[in-house]
Amino acid sequence: MENIIRLTPPLSEETVASLKSGDRVLITGTIYTGRDAAHKRLVDLLEKGEALPIPLKGEIIYFVGPTPAKPGKAIGSAGPTTSYRMDSYSPRLLAEGLKGMIGKGGRSLEVREAIKKHHGIYFAATGGAGALLAQRIKKAEVVAYEDLGPEAIRRIEVEDFPVVVINDIHGNDLYEQGVIPYKR
């Protein structure tokens, strides 16, 4: 298995450019959660030219809607949600400086082009491993859109959060390339 790369956001241009499809990465530091409804609100604000409730430059958004935290826990189960639902919003956020996205499942051609153009990176975390991944989340705080409940934007502190690079700035796609050797 390849070497494991350790990253701490915000991500620099150089860091993003060095990542390749298939790289295994452990993220430590602050990232933001957001899924369907939060993405819509962020893009609506950008359309109106208004300020966003979270910084985007160099940041990573994790597509997740966690379960409520049990007493004494930072967060409930928190695995990735399917990314294609964010496809209509991601290019706009990448244009505004967002660098990383964590989700699961393939992205549209438009998103892959935007990743190349704006030098972003798309990671996948293990879908269905929400209880396991929650152990790597040390703190969580709602920072916007509390009314959205599970869809609110949370600032979370992660430690050695395991992801794999799917789409890099060179146009590679691990979903397409990974399947080839096993197809019969």
Binding site: A78, G106, G128, G130, A131, L132
Partner: protein
């Protein structure tokens, strides 16, 4: 007439919601072990190992297997010699969902289709009633996540499409779904009936124990052929390539109209959650 008080229904549904979401069935643990043994891709093996460890953590800490604790799908099989007392059965089931999702720290995932405003308590549940012989009420709670549910469809084939057409549709659909439904998956296939019945057959097919034999030998052959074709796609665990794209294909079938060949495909991720109780 045997009487069943709705308070029993509320309590039971609430308990089953939490039980189903935290405690993966023994059949799925066996399926994960079988998948780990035959998977060739190192990434795939790792993905399967993570899902098993995840399910063990969920049981140990009594936390949800997956953050998507689903819409609560409930099958209520009501014996015709039962009288429900103390209130309305449907309200009792929804109250059980409300309590279970609140007390079990489960995610509330029900929302208004247009505004997306969350209903706040994961109701209304999706309830399928059937009236059966006897004096018992059987309740099955099967929370269903959105990621795998989105990778589902109904298609009205022509009778001329036959079994070959069914196979082509199912395999191509699983290929297109790729990593979206968190493979390895269970593929529920409903054949026949009409438009809505085919979808229900596909959903019911998901409730069968994984690793069990189809009681209809003709359908067992179809399941075996579909499994082979699906696992030859190479989609693999998490869609990252590998031998195991699906743990199982389950087919249910019933007669259909002479003009039709309805086919429904309902995809289920490894979190194949369903728990039942008989009152």
């Amino acid at each position: 007439m045997r009487e069943i008080n709705i308070s029993e229904v509320v309590k039971t549904v609430s308990r089953l919601c939490v039980d189903a979401n935290c405690n993966l069935g023994a059949d799925m643990f066996r399926a994960l072990d079988r998948a780990a043994a035959i998977e060739e891709s190192p990434t795939g093996k790792d993905g399967i190992a993570q899902l098993k460890e995840n399910a063990e953590i969920a049981i140990r800490d009594q936390v949800p297997i997956c953050q998507d604790t689903g819409l609560a799908v409930i099958f209520a099989e009501l014996g015709q010699e039962v009288r429900i007392v103390g209130g309305n059965l449907e309200e009792a089931i929804n109250e059980g969902v409300r309590q279970g999702y609140l007390e079990g720290y489960l995610r509330k995932s029900a929302c208004h289709p247009f505004t997306r405003a969350n209903t706040g308590d994961n109701t209304p549940a999706i309830i399928h009633y059937s009236l059966v012989a006897g004096d018992a009420l059987k309740l099955t709670v099967a929370p269903k996540g959105g990621g795998s549910e989105n990778m589902s469809k109904v298609v009205m084939l022509k009778p001329a499409d036959g079994i070959a057409g069914i196979k082509e549709q199912v395999v191509e659909w699983v290929r297109q779904a790729g990593g979206n439904p968190c493979p390895p998956t269970i593929v529920g296939v409903g054949i026949g009936g009409n438009f809505e019945r085919s979808a229900l057959l596909a959903k019911e097919a998901l409730l069968r124990e994984v690793g069990s034999v189809n009681p209809d030998s003709e359908l067992q052959v179809l399941e075996d052929e579909l499994m082979e074709a699906i696992n030859n796609l190479g989609v693999g665990p998490q869609g990252l390539g590998g031998r195991v794209t699906s743990f199982a294909v389950h087919v249910k079938m019933q007669p259909c109209h002479i003009a039709s060949l309805p086919l429904a495909i309902n995809i289920q991720c490894h979190a194949a959650r369903h728990k039942e109780a008989v009152l």
